[in-house]
Symmetry: C2
Subunit: 336 residues, 2 copies
């Protein structure tokens, strides 16, 4: 759910209710996030506004705030940390778009497309460092360490993914190890950060991290699914972008051992060419539909959603727990 | 001075004596720095070794260690921080080489040349985050904040420089503002960090930061001079690289208002083409020699060296203070 819902956006799915409880605090987060994207360097000011107005689902900040509410926190720290997590997420996006040579994100030209790779490298650096600087402002070293570790994990996940880019023999284990580091780690950090705040709740860290990790894995599986099932207008970028960029995701990975050499050749050709020069995108979409691997991937995503929800049993019932329980449904039903 | 002096390296200038006092501690720093460049991601491990073996003058770590010694510190923290500062410096170098499309650094192919831009973007991110993570290990928030601020300053300096890349009308004020943020800031942070350690020496922060800032400015002026005066073998990259990359540095900036339109056209042509396609490099070298702006730049560098040395009067005489006093001489006389 975008904070400033545009008229072009379809109505949010029912799962979006999960942020209702923290609507006001998400707005505060949004303000802090917007203000943090400011500098006396004109380019940062301009690109910062562009990123801010580009919106986003603000999933990770919502996790920080809901988790804090569940732990009965009601301070400024979690709002700062929520903005910090969104800053870190934004930094990874601008650098990833350089790496993927992406030209569209959320229906708008990417930062690298508009301002070029050089400025975008530096903007990402600036976002990461601004995030760390803001995280330091409340003097809680455990929180900053956790954020550093999550950032390292994401970078390493991206590098592992690059090593296997274009590889048709990517294993299921490799795929899950990559999405665990690349995506699930920051969700885990976001959800568990409030347990590191004062008063500390060391007992809650593990359950919240496991909740976030399962939710993040579910989120990435759905992301990978949407690359096959979404309409371009909703997705904000062309469908089958992943395959074109050399990324083999679960629906195809599951289909590969079951299909004949000719069809396997189709997939190999896109990975090799970085384009649909020897096969129509529709053939690939028919292939995964025929093999039923979209439904299998969705089942796996559902399994991670259930796993996330199970972790919440550790906490006594509360409105915030109910909201966190709704988050996996939101993730499963999102259309972009 | 490189730690592992290779046989091809000319004997260090007399100023190199400035690190003699902290030789053992620099070796410890080197070990920690080397160990920090390690990961279970094969590429990081490989590129980390490459960066480590690529050497470097280790100027910034030396400043941390000498400054700590002068303040009568003798602990592990300053060794960690010295390695952290070198990690941050390494991160800026790998990202800067992407931005400058550089292919050679210290006579070896750049990281981006060997492994490509995508991996190099992520390696830089990893180095920055590893640096912050290490800096957190001693639990001193003031130090980490100072490092964050210096990093932000460097990134902003690079962005300002990019905004004026290729501009023949760069002003002297702009030039100095860029080198202040891009280079002098990290020298200032390195020199003043030990005053933020326990027992704190808030009275000493300002003098040490001013020392580092003046030394860093001197360092950058000499760097800019070497691009005109060094031999390629010593510099480890082609001479006049700066101009070719669109960077107008002080020797040319001072010459511009004094030369005729034809000569000004030579400089404009290199900035425009990114190559010496319309003028020989030797014409540019003769031009700055004739105008005497190399000597003027060196005079200015000497002024900053004097300024750095003056700041040390704040501290009582000691061997470490003597060594810090030698650093500007080392910087002024370095040949690469």
């Amino acid at each position: 759910m975008t904070i400033e819902a545009s008229k072009a956006t379809p109505p949010p799915p029912s799962g979006a209710r999960f942020v209702e409880l923290i609507g006001d605090r998400l707005e505060c987060m949004e303000e802090i996030f917007g203000r943090s994207l400011s500098s006396d360097v004109p380019f940062i000011e301009e690109a910062g506004k562009y990123i801010f107005q580009g919106g986003g689902k603000r999933m990770r900040p919502a996790l920080v705030l809901l988790s804090a509410t569940m732990l009965e926190h009601d301070g400024d720290e979690e709002i700062t940390y929520a903005a910090v997590v969104e800053l870190i997420h934004s930094a990874t996006l601008v650098h990833d778009d350089i790496i993927d040579h992406a030209t569209l994100r959320r229906s708008k030209p990417t930062v690298n497309r508009i301002w070029g790779n050089s400025r975008t490298v530096l903007l990402g650096d600036w976002l990461y460092t601004t995030a760390m600087n803001m995280a330091l402002s409340h003097g809680n070293l455990d929180v900053v360490r956790r954020l550093c570790e999550a950032t390292l994990d994401m970078t390493e996940g991206e590098l592992l993914a690059l090593d296997r880019l274009g590889a048709i023999d990517l294993s299921r284990e490799e795929y899950f190890s990559i999405i665990d580091r690349k995506t699930a780690g920051l969700f885990a950090a976001a959800a568990s950060l409030p347990a590191l705040m004062v008063p500390r709740r060391p007992d809650a860290v593990e359950a919240l991290a496991a909740y976030g990790r399962a939710l993040g894995t579910c989120f990435q599986l759905v992301d990978d699914l949407l690359d096959f099932t979404a309409r371009e207008r909703e997705l904000g970028k062309p469908v089958l972008s992943d395959l074109k960029e050399g990324k083999l995701t679960l629906p195809l990975l599951l289909a590969l051992p079951r299909i004949d050499d000719a069809r396997r050749g189709w997939i190999a050709s896109v990975l090799e060419d970085g384009a649909f020069s020897r096969v129509e995108p529709d053939r690939i979409l028919e292939l995964v539909a025929a093999e039923g691997t979209l439904e299998e991937t969705r089942e796996l995503a559902r399994g991670y959603a259930d796993e996330a929800q199970r972790q919440l049993a550790f906490f006594p019932p509360s409105e915030a727990r109910d909201a966190l329980e709704l988050a996996p449904d939101f993730v499963l039903h999102r259309r972009h």
